[in-house]
Amino acid sequence: MRNLIRRNTVAGFVAAATLATMAVGLEAQGVKISDPTSVVMIVNRDSNDIAFMDIKTHKMVGSVFLGNNVNPHMVMMSPDGRYVVTGGTRANKAYIIDTKTLQLVKVIPVDIAPEHLAFSPDSRWYYQGNPDGDSISVIDMQSLSKIKTIPGFVEPLNVTFLPDGSKAYIGNYGAHWVGVVDVRRHELIKKIQIAEVPGVAKLDPAKYLGEIHGINIAMPSPDGKYLYAADGTLGIVGVIDPREDKVIKHIRVGKDPWRIYMGHDGKYAITPNNGDETISIIDLKTNSVAATLEAGPNMTGVNFAAGKAFVISSTSGFVYVYDMNSLKPAGRIKMGTNIQLETATTDTKEEKMYLAESTNHEILIIDAKTNAVERVGNVGLFPWGTHIMDSKDNYCH
């Protein structure tokens, strides 16, 4: 009997200890974000961290410090929601954060000055562009290791994958061609020349080829049938057929288009043209310019919501608004004076936009219907960009 009591007491202690361990375990696990779609990610360039803001309450959930002199450039969440990644431009490293616990789980050396990045649709591969290294680093998200560096690019900025994940397209800002990468072999298999450089360039290459504003991104149309690549120096948009990887049409737009942004309904796309401070609205059905409208200086991004397009003019402190049904200007929103606007993301309900403003270290939340602005301060130093999982407007500058 005494033995039985002893056994029961021991069993009780064991059970209590197990429960206590489990409780401590859960606490130690420290789940900070249970739903990856519930947060806005903010890249803070000068405080070297990624901050997380709750979409509903607009309160900061937490932040992950990456290290001194990292200068994160762009942030993105993996399609499975498990990881948040960023490239540290000054550190030449890629950083992988566990979304649930907000723990920095891996730091991977990549090539020089990593900036923009993309995930393959199945979450398997993370392609990190290294503009100063003229390469793409391929990171395997199963082993969380770099498996390859693909060389041969010229200032590669943005990476886009085909919906089936078979090929990736790389915009070369220092050249006039789009690189096609076979995702099975992670090899550059083709260079698609967007257009011929004018003959005059050959006479004075230093003048005409020294400061190339080439291709920022090859953006797939919403139906996935074509890719559109704007070339800044040439002032055109090349339409690429990904079945043959050939340019099938050129569309002349304004001067020095920064890049192309796709409307969510698949009808129109917009190029902000910083050379003449206009925007070109491209009809995706006819592949022609449907409207050219006045805009502001130094445009860094375009967001779409509530049937409108919001064009960010970084140095003027204005966001220019356009009605995408009538294709006419719909006013502009003054965000402040002597401020620097960066880039924005749109929530998945397409109701609000989250715009990074680096001068006052704040996020400006724009209501797409009313154009009202809410300010959230102290998000970190020099917020550079924002990102929401599954948003259709996730981009960087």
């Binding site: 199945d122 199963q142 498996i147 998945t348 599954d390």
Partner: protein, 231 residues
């Protein structure tokens, strides 16, 4: 003189031919007698290593990648077709898959005509049926105008399980094999028993311990080398 020399050479030729015939006979005997042939081969080769080794240059060429066996969350994306009006879509899923579908789970919805556009959605209701369950999914925002059909990917969580990357697993007949890295850097095959197969990782029920390192990218080449050696 000339003739004699020819004869002499002929004799030599005959001698060489005789030796060649003897060697052929010996070779034939050895080859047709597997036991003794294997014995000779074993004596020549000594104790054969049952593992495969890869030097640094080869590993780089093969982009050989090693991943740790560990407990990680496994996601299965249940794919189905959904139809409906407005933001509410209805889909049917076999009961086997429906076991893991619960309200509020994340759904990725793609209109077939807009392959690059993904619309976020949530599971709002699951009604079991005799063979299939009816799953109601609600789009977070209005979907594509004029589109009533969507390809749905329902993101189901199966919990934290001991797992390896899908790519590490090689199917040979009825067996499932992974290549495990030894302490000396060599690779040896190991039979494994598998459980839930997720999008990126598969549960390992038997055959591996947490902390062991398995080959993922490049496992096919290790396997090929292993088979070439006849191990």
């Amino acid at each position: 003189m000339k003739v004699r020399r020819v004869k002499c050479e002929d004799r030599r030729r005959w001698k060489v031919s005789g030796l060649f015939a003897l060697l052929c006979t010996l070779h034939f005997t050895l080859c047709t007698s597997p036991t003794s042939a294997q014995g000779i081969r074993d004596r020549i080769r000594g104790d054969r290593d049952k593992t495969t080794s890869v030097n640094e240059a080869q590993a780089s060429e093969l982009t050989l990648t090693i991943t740790q066996v560990e407990v990680r969350p496994i996601q299965v994306w249940v794919r189905t077709a959904g139809t409906g009006e407005g933001q509410v879509l209805r889909a049917f899923v076999p009961n086997d898959d429906a076991r893991f579908i619960k309200p509020d789970q994340r759904v990725r919805a793609f209109p077939p005509e807009h392959r690059s556009s993904m619309f976020q959605a949530r599971v709002t209701q699951v009604t079991p049926g005799p063979e299939r369950a009816q799953v109601i999914v609600t789009l977070v925002a209005p979907g594509l105008k004029g589109s009533s059909r969507y390809v749905l990917e329902i993101v189901t969580e199966h919990g934290d399980l001991l797992s390896v990357p899908n790519e590490a697993i090689i199917e040979t007949g009825d067996k499932r094999v992974v290549y495990v890295q030894g302490s000396d850097g060599s690779y040896a095959p190991r039979d494994v028993e598998l459980g839930v197969q997720g999008e990126l990782f598969t549960e390992v029920v038997k055959g591996l311990m947490p902390g062991e390192q398995v080959v993922t990218f490049g496992s096919f080449f290790i396997d090929a080398d292993h088979k070439l050696k006849g191990l």
